[in-house]
Amino acid sequence: MISRRNLLKNTVRIIGGIALPLSAFRIIDPKEIFAAYNDGTKVRWVFLVDTYKCVGCGMCVKACKLENEIPYDANVTRTWVERYVLTKDGNVLADSPKGARDGFTNPRIDLGLGQYADIKPAEIDKAFFVPKLCNQCDKPPCVQVCPVGATYQVPEGVVLVDRTWCIGCGYCIMACPYGVRFFHPKYHTAEKCTYCYHRITKGMTTACVAACPFGARRIGNIKDPNDPVTKIIMTERVGILKEEYGTKPQNYYIGLSKEVK
């Protein structure tokens, strides 16, 4: 029969014995040592969108589809442009037909199910365009929920998908509050905007930035204080999308309006 004293003694011993080696693991975490000596990387890609400059031509969407081999006619896209129309009677209408691949050539608003709204110019209070793409969040929920680790964040902040390992469960698509993910029609794996990772790592800019005729889209390195994009983000008033989800998105918007979803 074990006495109470001995039971307590042994309990303390066992807990201590287990805790000690476990804490040692924590002390020698290689990641922490690495981080202590090195910031890891000198680059953190961010995106800057000036909504005042966007005219909804859709060149960015076209360029993205061609550059990243997203089937041209498939109704999915890595980047898209939204049109917002606010009428005098307080209605907010928005659409993005085919992700604005062909631009907004029609003044009618697409209501889905084959219906359209005809808004007369006199009824409009304000109208504007908002380009969208992956926010390359600092706390990406899509990476968190991937059951096999097929989607991951590179040290420069961009979130990528491993097409050879993705099982196609769609959990990441569900987890993204921005709706940027979809299944690639050909590869049948999760697909998303990568800030054209294959280009920016070679010193080029993204396809959409290169295609934008008005300079509405820009990409920059937030860790470089001399980067013009960083300077704008640091000194001017910029907004982010859906802050309430705590994902810490890294696309910054100039001229964001409260109606933007």
Partner: protein, 413 residues
């Protein structure tokens, strides 16, 4: 065509990439795991808490749970766009994901059910194996049987009083461990949905608890349904054979007496869990309406408008309220029990449907809607597995499997 486009119709402002990506198979998945967990909890009520009245049901529920267990991952495999990579979940589990735990929880649970089943039927395996061993000229079929049963004994032929006592102890321990694991198995299925912060309808800490409760409800209901059906068949056989070999079979009246007793007892537990499940679901609904956060406008339009029939008439009305009244009324009969459990099963299915499909009925913009049109007639692989045919296939598979397992582990001896 893009995956999801076939069965999704978009209305008003929906992001270009949004479709109903989680369709009918993801409705089937929590429904099937729920049945597994529920059936196991039912069997444990007897083994752990010694509720004697459930003895007849306990063995049946255990074997049925085992049969369902093999089907539970099937909807997931059907749903995956890369089904052959499903094994990756076991190979590189990414533990920040709720789905990654699936491999571990599921195998642990499978091991528990399998070993409990083995302890329950060990004596039978030994008896048959020994009888066949002593038999002289065995036929080919008997030789196969001998081989199968020898394997099933796992080399343990001790059926002394002490050994059987130990078996009983092991069963009790396994059943006791099994209850939290079964709850975990299903609670975590609820967690998969409840932890998706991007989805306004799914995200609630109540989700795992709601899932567990409705799982137990559906498990008990399915066990009762199958039990009643099997007993009815036995009655039919008994009345036919009563003239010729009456001594060999139980009489019709005997079966009837046992049947109503078991049904009455099980119904009481069903009622208890049903009330619990409904209360939690209503609490969730009331809480959402009361706090009315940003997403409530669109949620309200879905819950009280677009999905009103699915939620309030099919799920709460036909699936919960009517069976609740039927079970509460005194002097329950077999017919009434049969009707109530069928309705309850339907209600739980509708609950899963309203969670999974309902959660995708509105856009992430909160300014648009998506309508789900399930493919009915399959004309290619995708419309089969993501349509009615695939769902029916998954839903019906447990029965032939149970029939097969019943040959190895006879539940009514």
């Amino acid at each position: 065509m893009v995956h999801g486009e076939l069965w999704t119709a978009k209305e008003l402002f929906v992001y270009p990439n949004e479709y109903i990506y989680w369709s009918i198979q993801i409705v089937m998945y929590p429904f099937m795991t729920g049945l597994v967990a529920g059936a196991f909890v039912l069997s444990s009520l007897y083994h752990v808490f010694g509720i004697k009245q459930l003895k007849e049901m306990a063995r049946f529920a255990l074997v049925f749970s085992f049969a369902l267990l093999f089907i539970a991952p099937m909807p997931l495999l059907f749903h995956l766009l890369q089904p052959f990579r499903g094994i990756n979940v076991f190979m590189t589990p990414h533990f920040t994901s709720a789905i990654a735990a699936f491999g571990i929880v599921f195998s642990a649970y499978g091991a528990i059910v399998a070993s409990e089943l083995w302890f329950v039927y060990r004596k039978r395996f030994v008896d048959i194996a020994l009888a066949l061993r002593n038999k002289q000229d065995r036929s080919l079929w008997e030789s196969i049987q001998y081989l199968v049963y020898c394997t099933l004994t796992l080399g343990s032929y001790d059926v002394s009083e002490e050994a059987l006592d130990k078996d009983h102890k092991a069963i009790k321990i396994l059943a006791a461990i099994g209850i939290p694991v079964a709850c975990f198995l299903h609670g975590y299925a609820g967690f998969i949905f409840g932890s998706v912060k991007a989805n306004a309808l799914w995200m609630t800490p109540l989700m795992p608890v709601i899932f567990i409760m409705s799982a137990i409800v559906s498990g008990i209901a399915l066990c009762m349904l199958t039990y009643i059906l099997i007993m009815e068949i036995k009655k039919l056989l008994a009345s036919r054979k009563s003239l010729s070999r009456s001594s060999l079979y139980q009489s019709k009246e005997e079966i009837k007496g046992v049947e109503i007793n078991v049904v009455r007892m099980t119904a009481r537990y069903l009622l208890f869990f049903l009330v619990f499940a409904i209360s939690l679901e209503l609490l969730d609904l009331v809480f959402r309406g009361y706090t009315a956060v940003k997403s409530w406008d669109v949620l309200r339009s879905v819950i009280y408008g677009r999905d009103f029939t699915d939620i309030f008439i099919l799920q709460y009305g036909i699936g919960n309220l009517i069976p609740l009244i039927l079970l509460l009324l005194p002097r329950i009969t077999i017919k009434r029990a049969l009707l109530s459990v069928s309705l309850i099963l339907f209600g739980v299915f509708m609950m899963r449907y309203n969670v999974v499909i309902g959660g995708q009925a509105f856009s992430l913009t909160f300014a648009g809607y998506m309508h789900y049109h399930m493919p009915i007639v399959p004309y290619n692989w995708e419309t089969f597995k993501e349509g009615l045919a695939g769902a029916l296939f998954v839903g019906l598979m447990p029965f032939p499997l149970f029939w097969f397992f019943n040959k190895l582990f006879p539940v009514f001896d």
